[in-house]
């Protein structure tokens, strides 16, 4: 309703402006003024075009000077180094082209601003010139394509070489869960149809799959440094995207499908916290946070959701901790396996339910009958 009201107000404002134009019109003295650019318009706007070129350079320099330090720190994964290098070279190229073309465009605008009596050059075609500026982009782009595709193929080749750690990233509105294959490093089968919230089987893991027993389900992603990790992404409801910017890694999570990404972390969280860029960033950030009255921040790698997924899309995150092999093993040893946390609980609840003999779910019944036989 308020929106409708505002809409009406806007219409009224428009009418008011229109009325004002009438007044404006009446108050204008009748001078002979043409609405076509004359020499002085050309001159003024020619100078402004030149000034605008300086503005473009200015905002470029300003942005680089002020914002470069806010960008992501050096890559923390093996392929991330290649990524950063390719990015750097591509940037150098487009930056070069940008500087030159903007200069020509605005300089010509300034240089050839119109003047009465000036004659423009009738210059309609020049095959040689056109050939040159077709072939140069062809060559440069061919180079970039080849390099890019080589890197892409390497990054996207998810294979089982070098004994990768297998981790499932599970997305739902609006949080992440990670599942490790456990001692056997093999994930148990899972499907959303097997989800059993009452029994804490939140990922829909197939309880009859022996591989599932030692799976470890956690809410914080721990990764050992230097070991390849193969991620298997799943989503239970809508599209999400597992975005790990510090590792130059991203893959969508698609309901009904398992998607994959693989990378090798190379810098532990501890090491990254000592990186000078990160130290500076944390310092700057904490000054801001202190002003706002927020708690101080300590750097951590983070997993963000990067595909619009609903109301709390903006706060769908999971902490990532990269640590040494020993630390990782020690942490893993503390975690409960699927069998310990869910199957056991379930047995208990089942027993309770039987005692109470209340209404039971169909799948629980069928499981019972299976065990009775």
């Amino acid at each position: 309703m308020t929106a409708l009201l505002t809409f009406t107000v806007l219409v009224l404002v428009a009418i008011a402006i229109w009325q004002m134009t009438k007044i404006f019109e009446l108050s204008q003295t009748k001078t002979e003024r043409s609405e076509i650019a004359n020499d002085s318009d050309n001159k003024n706007n020619g100078y402004l075009l030149f000034a605008f070129l300086i503005f473009i350079y200015g905002i470029t320099i300003f942005s680089f000077a002020k914002y470069s330090k806010m960008l992501l720190p050096e890559a923390a994964s093996e392929h991330g180094g290649d990524y950063d290098q390719l990015m750097w070279v591509s940037f150098a190229i487009i930056f070069f082209v940008q500087t030159i073309t903007q200069a020509l465009l605005h300089y010509f605008g300034y240089k050839y601003r119109g003047e009465t009596g000036r004659k423009a050059l009738f210059f309609a075609d020049n095959d040689r010139l056109e050939f040159i500026w077709t072939i140069i982009p062809v060559i440069v782009l061919a180079g970039l394509i080849l390099w890019g595709l080589y890197t892409w193929t390497n990054i996207m080749d998810v294979n089982e070489d070098d004994d990768p750690l297998i981790v499932e990233l599970y997305a739902q509105q609006f949080n992440w869960t990670a599942r490790y294959g456990g001692d056997d490093n093999v994930l148990g089968e899972a499907n959303v149809r097997l989800i059993d919230i009452a029994n804490a089987n939140i990922l829909g893991i197939d309880e009859s799959d022996p591989n599932a027993e030692d799976d470890v389900i956690v809410k914080e992603l721990h990764l050992p440094v230097g070991r390849k990790v193969n991620f298997k992404m799943r989503s239970q409801d809508v599209l999400h995207s597992a975005y790990m910017p510090h590792f130059r890694a991203q893959m969508n999570c698609v309901p009904g499908m398992i998607t994959q990404f693989s990378f090798t972390p190379t810098v532990t969280t501890e090491e990254m916290r000592l990186n000078p860029d990160v130290v500076d960033k944390v310092k700057r950030t904490n000054v801001i946070r202190a002003q706002k009255g927020d708690d101080p921040w300590e750097f951590d790698y983070i997993l963000l959701c990067n595909k619009i997924c609903g109301k709390s899309h903006y706060n769908m995150q999971m902490k990532i901790i990269v640590e040494t092999e020993e630390e990782f093993n020690a942490w893993m040893a503390e975690q409960k396996t699927f069998k310990e946390s869910v199957m056991v609980d379930e047995a208990e609840t089942e027993a309770e339910e039987q005692v109470a003999s209340t209404d039971e779910e169909a799948d629980v019944e069928s499981e019972e009958s299976a065990s009775e036989e």
Partner: protein
């Protein structure tokens, strides 16, 4: 002005010459005259643009000052902004509707509809569109779809909020998001009607260009505007039906329980029955339109720029044939690059390689166009009218935005910037701002043609351009850095991540520029409206232009030319053409309109 340029008026009247009895309704509402329909498109498009831009200012304020209370939020958003604090759901709805309005309603139908309708018949020398009736239907379907889209803003649970790309399952499941209920239904209905409107319009443009060219107007003599509208219409006819099928399948999934795009979903505590569909299929279908769509938006703007730039530089457009060739190349390639929006969607990485290849190919004709524009300025006699400034501005933003396309088109580099603000910066510059500039250039340039010889105030035009130009870079240049810092798009606020805290300053800067830019558009609105009623009348051919539309009288008449349709003897770009002795072809005049026969001793070019 020379007498050769005049059309003889005492020729016999042909069948279109006599006057029909017109009522207010047939003249202004259910008009079948292309010039009136063009104005209807323009006004509707501008109103939608006004709403779309206003929405963007609201969510930009939320981004700069997250969680802050604003009276304007409460006033405009009502229950969606309790105590003046914007709700997260309505944030997404605003982003979604903003994108939809700007891409489809303003820059597709608002831009193409206006200028294809105005210029195709006038520039090719036709009395009207091939089918005036179909043209009228096309506009009214556009109008109905606009109305439905606006109505969807007022539904109880809020308008569609799944992003302008409305990926399922988010857009398919009302329990995933309130906007995916009635709001999404209306969105889909509106878009289905919109697509039908666009198809009717496009078919009409194609047929008109093919069949109704005046004598002598060969394809290679067409002004580049017409080439652009013609090819745009063809891409539209090829790709919009695919979006329609995506929309229909989505409607079926939503309402009739099919599983085209849905599978294995557990939401709000229950498993849904959907099985076997794939959201990735939807992405393919959407982007099969979506990428051509960005060129549907851009090509008309480039066409307008070619015409405006050549006229105001008093020089032929450089490399006419190369320009036509690149329009065709872009059109062809644009239908085989859609996968670059899906590098990390889970599709086979090998497909990603193919799409990287085709995507970087499309950079080549784009580069050729940019270089040709720059060369057109070289050694010109530039008349820096507002339309000319907007054209130069278009080339500038097209280059800046196009270059970052090289980063995004590289599947490797896209991994880390996909769906971040880097993408938002890229497409706003290359498509949003560039096409808007094209539209403004067209409006300033052809305003006298639309409104009976009245012209827009040039000084207000200059102020409008310069503020807009500075602010456009002010908003979108720093945005690249926000994206490279890792900030995802479509986040209601960035406060949940301390690593983004220091970027809030950048957000504030961008928002301030955006608000100033928004206010500057009011100058345009004022200029536009007051010039309709009080604009100064200029000469019949104010810009000294070669194309046929300026041979028609100022007052609109049905059938465009009172007498015979002029014949065409040359291409549209004989600006500053001289004899070998250096004298202009028509003494004292630096342009030779298309309807002037070849003069004695004049060197004939290939056109």
């Amino acid at each position: 002005m020379s007498e050769v340029a005049h059309v003889s008026h005492d020729d016999h009247h042909d069948d279109h010459g006599h006057h029909h009895k017109e009522t207010f309704i047939t003249k202004y509402i259910f008009s079948q005259d292309h010039k009136m329909i063009s104005k209807q498109y323009l006004i509707t498009g501008l109103i939608m643009g006004f709403i779309g831009i206003a929405m963007s200012l609201l969510f930009r304020m939320q981004l700069a000052w997250p969680g802050e209370s604003f009276g304007i939020f409460e006033a405009v958003l009502g229950k969606w902004a309790p105590d003046g604090v914007m709700d997260a759901d309505i944030y997404l709805a605003l982003v979604t509707i903003h994108g939809t309005l700007m891409v489809f309603f303003v820059l597709t139908q608002g831009l193409s509809g206006t200028f294809s309708n105005l210029l195709i018949p006038l520039q090719i020398g036709a009395r009207d569109m091939a089918s005036g009736f179909m043209n009228m239907i096309s506009y009214w379907m556009f109008f109905i779809s606009s109305v439905i889209m606006i109505i969807s803003l007022f539904v109880e649970a809020g308008p569609a909020a799944a992003g302008w790309t409305i990926y399922p399952p988010l857009s398919a499941l009302p329990m995933a998001q309130p906007g995916s209920g009635m709001g999404m239904t209306l969105w889909l209905v509106s878009m289905a009607i919109f697509i039908a409107s666009s198809l009717l319009g496009s078919l009409n443009y194609i047929v008109t260009v093919i069949n109704l060219r005046t004598k002598g107007m060969s394809m290679t003599r067409l002004p580049l505007t017409i080439w652009a509208f013609f090819v745009t219409a063809i891409i539209g006819v090829i790709s919009f039906p695919v979006l329609l099928s995506a929309a229909l399948l989505l409607i079926m999934d939503r309402s009739f329980g099919t599983s085209f795009f849905l599978s294995d979903i557990f939401i709000q505590g229950e498993v849904l029955h959907y099985q076997g569909g794939s959201p990735v299929l939807y992405e393919h279908l959407f982007w099969f339109l979506g990428h051509p769509e960005v060129y549907i938006v851009l090509l008309p703007a480039l066409g307008i720029t070619s015409e405006v730039m050549s006229t105001n530089a008093r020089k032929p457009i450089f490399g006419y044939r190369a320009m036509v060739a690149s329009i065709l190349a872009i059109a062809f390639l644009s239908t085989i690059v859609w996968g670059h929006h899906m590098f990390v969607s889970g599709m086979n990485p090998f497909l990603g390689s193919v799409f990287t290849f085709t995507t970087l190919l499309i950079a080549i004709p784009s580069a050729v166009k940019a270089f040709n524009y720059i060369t057109t300025l070289w050694k010109g006699n530039l008349q820096l009218n507002p339309a000319m400034l907007f054209s130069i501005g278009l080339v500038s933003t097209f280059i800046t935005g196009g270059l970052t396309g090289i980063i995004l088109g590289d599947s490797t580099l896209d991994i880390n910037v996909h769906d971040t603000y880097f993408v938002v910066a890229h497409f706003h510059l290359v498509m949003g701002i560039s096409a808007l500039y094209g539209m403004f250039a067209g409006i300033y340039h052809w305003f006298p043609k639309m409104f009976h010889g009245r012209m827009m105030n040039k000084n207000l035009g200059y102020v409008h351009f310069w503020i807009t130009a500075v602010c456009a870079y002010g908003v979108f240049f720093p945005m690249h850095f926000v994206g490279m810092a890792g900030v995802p798009r479509r986040y209601y606020e960035n406060t949940a991540f301390p690593m983004f805290d220091e970027l809030t300053n950048v957000q504030v800067l961008m928002t301030v520029f955006a608000i100033i830019a928004g206010l500057a558009q009011l100058i345009f609105v004022y200029n536009f409206i007051s010039s309709i009623f009080y604009g100064k009348k200029g000469p019949v051919n104010p810009w000294g232009s070669n194309t046929l539309e300026w041979t028609t009288p100022r007052e609109h008449i049905h059938g465009n030319w009172p007498g015979e349709i002029p014949h065409v003897y040359r291409w549209a770009y004989d600006y500053s053409k001289t004899y070998e002795n250096g004298e202009y072809i028509i003494a004292g005049q630096d342009f030779v309109p298309q309807n002037v026969p070849l003069q004695e001793n004049e060197e004939e070019l290939n056109h």
